[in-house]
């Protein structure tokens, strides 16, 4: 595993995750970016302008900041660009507020195929029941 900050290593250990992190942000109390790394789909986090409001850079974070994340929150399978799905983990510790992006694209695409078959059948059954 890349030499991630201890906060991330500790968090991944706590949630018993064997996966790597594709990108992360660390924000201070004013929601300014103080650390950033990685690449999430078409967005290269390494190159972002940290002076810009983080919610403008990452609309997915709208409404989520500021927040109390003493209990970590996970947004599963966030489809934030056309070709990628990410689990977004939100937590904070003494260093700041952390946002981790973990790529779930291959699993999400597999699930989509399975769900497509199931819900297409359910849709037909629903329509039959209502006489359509």
């Amino acid at each position: 595993m890349k030499n991630f900050p201890d906060s991330i290593k500790k968090y991944l250990k706590k949630i018993d995750a064997d996966q790597s992190v594709d990108g992360y942000l660390c924000l201070n109390d004013e929601q300014k970016i103080v650390a950033n790394y990685g690449c999430i789909g078409v967005t290269n986090i390494n190159d972002i302008d940290c002076a810009i409001n983080v919610v403008q850079l990452f609309p997915v974070l709208e409404g989520l900041l500021p927040g109390n994340y003493a209990v970590p929150t996970v947004i599963n399978y966030a489809h934030i660009d056309p070709d990628h799905y990410f689990d977004i983990h939100l937590f904070h510790d003494k260093l700041g507020f952390w946002v981790l992006f973990i790529d779930k694209t291959s699993l999400a695409k597999k699930m989509q195929k399975e769900q497509q078959i199931r819900l297409t059948d359910d849709f037909k059954n629903d329509s039959c029941r209502s006489g359509n």
Partner: protein, 167 residues
């Protein structure tokens, strides 16, 4: 610029994704493609000469809504509750999701959408659930993503609720 998180909620195949796609990309497809997780889009609109960015969370619709994660609702400013009246079971799902929001976040403004108005002859309104949701909603709008009717009105109504009217 003001930004607001708006969730699209409703049973599977009621047309949540189609409404967003029609509104954001001016596109429609007859093909039903299920949503996994949540798809996030952004659309900037103007309300009373104020720019407002709607961050649209198109939350997957399952037949068993107990699996809709409260984490998707966190930070939501308003929601769009979508029903396909040609499938009466979708009224029950809408009622469940409305209750889930109330229990998770408390009252939030929402627009009730009766979608697929292009097949209105197939509609079977559940009067009890409809009356309850209609009373609580900012507005109830009949829409068709297919025919592009009522779609702009849905999102504009939500947007209007965030910007004070200039008299």
């Amino acid at each position: 610029m003001i930004q607001k998180k708006i969730c699209m909620l409703g049973s599977f195949a009621v047309g949540k994704t189609s409404l967003v796609r029609r509104y954001v990309d001016s596109l429609f497809s007859e093909n039903y493609v299920t949503t996994i997780g949540v798809k996030i889009d952004k659309k900037v609109i103007s309300v009373n000469e104020t720019d407002l960015a709607l961050i649209l969370w198109d939350v997957y619709g399952e037949d068993n809504h107990k699996s809709v994660l409260p984490s998707y609702l966190r930070g939501m400013a308003a929601y769009i509750l979508v029903i396909d009246p040609s499938r009466p079971a979708t009224f029950e799902s809408a009622k469940y999701l409305h209750t889930l929001v109330l229990e998770t976040l408390g009252p939030k403004p929402f627009v009730l959408v009766l979608n697929k108005s292009d097949i209105k002859s197939d509609w079977e309104i559940n009067p009890t659930i409809f009356a309850k949701l209609n009373e609580a909603a900012l507005a109830t709008i009949e829409a068709s993503a297919k025919n592009d009717t009522g779609v702009d009105e849905v999102f504009q109504t939500i947007g209007n609720s965030f910007v004070p009217t200039v008299l």
